[in-house]
Amino acid sequence: MNRHLSGAGVGVVLALIALVVFGAWRYDGFVSPYNILTVLRYNSMFALVGLGMCFVIMTGGIDLSVGSVAAMSSVVSAYLSPYGLVAGLVGGVGVGLIAGSLSGFIITRMKLLPFIATLAVMLAASGTALLLANNQSVSVSYDTAFMTLGQGNLLAGFKPEWIDGEDAGWAGAALGLLFNFPTPAWMALVAYVIGSVLLNALPFGRHVLAIGGGEEASRLMGLPTDRTVFLAYLISGGLAGMAGVILAAQFGAGQPIEGIGWELFAIASVVVGGTLLTGGKGSIFATLAGVLLLGLIFTILNFENGVGWISLSAYWQSVVRGAFLLVVVILQSRLARRVPA
């Protein structure tokens, strides 16, 4: 039952709106279609990783492997890119699924703590990525459509001429957003819609939340706990793989050393989105808001430097992100204390 967003979920959406309004007020071109689409294109990888993490965290687990799984998958998909878009996509997502199933196996069969199991998978994926790539980045083939997975706009081919015209007006701008909507952002959007259906309209999602809320109780209720937990890690692995494909396509190379720290930023987005780290409670779209919120901080810093009043190095973004996380968790702890569970 997800009739209401949790308090923190509403909070993150409000904070996101406030940040956008602030940006629009302060910087020229902040709400320009170009900037919006750039932000979406760049953050779609993180959105995918965050979605997978959200499912895992709702089961009460954690997935530290997402960053290196994405790196591994970017290498694999780069190698497969000469064989076309589909090969690259399937290959990348495929290795992600393998990694996810490995985590799921270690956790559900060998009964290791998710933290330690996914830590091991993280190391293994990272090693595999380096091994496959021979310690360097792997160029993506420019001869196939693979690159469009990162750099293309899905509907660009259908775009009527007049939209880019001078006198297209508001309707043109709105349609322009649609037709110029980046392919990776479409992928993320579709993933989130499917994720939301999975969570709210199918038994699987209810089981995920039930297991996070009480694993032993769920087992006694006869829920397929192991299968559900396994699937959550599988989903996380698959989505991390997809993020890796986008990574390779967007930057033109498979990057075996990318993805360091992604897992913790993904966790941060999920937490900022109000999902309880202990599991049992969570929202898919608040996670998306969390990803965008943390992503926008980077954009805002760039714009701020552009304005040139105060020069803030890019390093400030981690400080600001950390501060944001701090505020959110403190607020959450206050909320949690007021409402005894």
Binding site: R206, H207, G213, G214, L220
Partner: protein
């Protein structure tokens, strides 16, 4: 008998590691029968149930259910085949809605496989209405009281069209009225031809609702009888495996009923208010006196005790200890002042399971046992050895992890944890809950001895006998306020119960 039993378990063997839990145990339940299953802790009741509902496998023996051989692979499989279990600790998900908790694992879905939320909400509402529970089924279960949660658990179990419902200590968290509702439900089930296995420590309840009783001891089935054929005393004797004469001599509890001289007042609590549960608690304790604190579940007994001990903050009222007003902010301040507190929840608030008996026993004493922060292990061992002998703690060695001990021995270790501090006032919250009859008597004797040695004792208990026979004075809480005070001459089971139920002062 002409009617075939619904369930027949014969010669069941089961051991965990090398310790046998069941040795050729048996259990028969007729259709539409309410069967009581009783025994001391460790007698094998729980294991019997777990074998039946597929939570764990059996090593030997035969089970027949509904005329067919029975081998459930899991509680879920058992549930599908008509055996539903309501476990001792409510096993539901507090974060999730009532509806979800009822429908988890067998959600109503449309043709496309999507959840039909509306049907499930309606179903949940209707199901609960049958048990006279009308609540917002969309709200998280955790928002409701323990009793409501229990009813939801029962509703869930019943809704599986069960032929046999197992209730493991289902009443332990319910108040009198709620127990009444539950019994009504059981009779309803019975009328529909559903059988019930009813596990309980509260013997009185059995007579109200059960048809027959099966008594287990040391992994064996030692008696099966019509409920009306066994007296309470016979049941106790059977569970203990003792002669009836022995039990009768002992009385129901091990408290002697002689009058005791009491000293100066050590604790006076007035107009105490704690959170939402306690509004106006009042009590006083003199040295050398056992003061009982009685009340129904949810009347604020534990909350009052925790506030006195500094475990929770109180909003109003005064606490005077040893003549001075005090307000302990943390338990350790109370401990420093000479208080001790044995929680009712041994497992979660008492023992540190992985630590040894020695470490558990001296946990509170550690600061006093050390010289500039370093533990004096020689002294530690001396103290531990002394208490193990004095109180008769049965353990392989002081180094044995406490979780391997029986409930009664764990409780003794926790008691020793406070005794080695030389306290002035001890608070016992349900000191004998979940402890077998033998250890129970020892602990009761010990409490009496402590009081006789000049200690002030506050004893919270749900067992009225324990209060009536054990306490020198008794305060009764009702809805968070002290409504009556009894002394030995005025306290009786009837008087206490009537005050607890109706709030009329005596």
């Amino acid at each position: 008998m002409s009617v075939q039993p619904l369930l027949s378990m014969r010669g069941i063997d089961k051991s965990f590691g090398v310790a046998p839990a069941l040795i050729g145990a048996s259990l028969d339940v007729m259709p539409g029968e309410v069967m009581a299953l009783i025994g001391q802790n460790g007698a094998g009741k729980s294991t019997m149930i777990k074998v039946l509902n597929g939570y764990c496998g059996k090593d030997g023996g035969d089970i027949t259910f509904d005329g067919k051989p029975w081998a459930a692979a899991s509680p879920q499989a058992a549930q599908r085949s008509g055996v539903s279990t309501i476990f001792q600790e409510i096993n539901l998900i507090p974060f999730r809605s009532v509806t979800e908790n009822i429908y988890l694992g067998r959600e109503i879905r449309n043709a496309a496989g999507f959840l039909k939320w509306r049907s499930m909400h309606e179903g949940a509402r209707a199901l609960l209405a049958a048990f006279a529970v009308n609540i917002d089924v969309g709200a998280p279960l955790g928002h409701f009281s323990t009793a409501i949660q229990q009813m939801v658990a029962i509703a869930r179990a019943v809704s599986f069209n069960a032929k046999l419902v197992i209730m493991d200590e289902s009443t332990s968290s319910l108040d009198e009225q709620e127990v009444g509702v539950l019994f009504q439900t059981i009779r309803q089930l019975k009328a529909q031809g559903v059988s019930v296995i009813f596990v309980s420590h509260k013997l009185d309840e059995l007579y109200k609702v059960c048809d027959r009783v099966t008594v287990m001891r040391d992994g064996r089935t030692v008696a099966v009888a019509e409920m009306t054929e066994m007296t309470k005393l016979q049941l106790v004797a059977c569970m203990l495996g003792r002669d009836l004469a022995d039990v009768r001599k002992q009385g129901a509890t091990a408290f002697s009923t002689a009058a005791h001289a009491a000293g100066a007042e050590i604790l006076v609590v007035d107009h105490l208010a704690v959170g939402r549960r306690v509004s106006d608690a009042r009590l006083s304790i003199r040295k050398g006196e056992i003061v009982g604190l009685a009340g129904l579940l949810g009347s604020g007994r534990t909350e009052t005790a925790r506030a006195i001990f500094g475990a929770d903050d109180h909003q109003a009222g005064s606490i005077r200890y040893d003549g001075r007003p005090v307000r302990f902010r943390e338990p350790r301040e109370a401990i420093a002042a000479g208080l001790g507190f044995c929680s009712e929840d041994r497992k979660h608030e008492g023992i540190v399971p992985g630590m040894s008996v020695r470490e558990n026993l001296t946990l509170a004493l550690l600061p006093a046992l050390s010289r500039s922060g370093v533990v004096d292990e020689t002294r530690q061992r001396q103290i531990v050895d002394r208490f193990i002998k004095d109180i008769g703690i049965k353990c392989a060695s002081p180094e044995q992890p406490i979780r391997e001990l029986s409930g009664g021995n764990q409780q003794k270790v926790l008691l020793a944890r406070w005794l080695c501090m030389n306290p002035k006032l001890l608070i016992f919250d349900e000191p004998t809950r979940g402890i077998d009859v033998g250890a129970k008597a020892e602990i009761q004797k010990l409490i009496r001895r402590l009081a006789d040695d000049g200690l002030g004792v506050l004893m919270i208990s749900s067992e009225i006998e324990e209060i009536v026979e054990g306490a020198d004075r008794t305060f009764v809480l009702r809805d968070g306020a002290t409504v009556a005070e009894f002394d030995r001459s005025t306290a009786s089971e009837h008087a206490l119960m009537s005050v607890m139920a109706h709030g009329e002062g005596a």
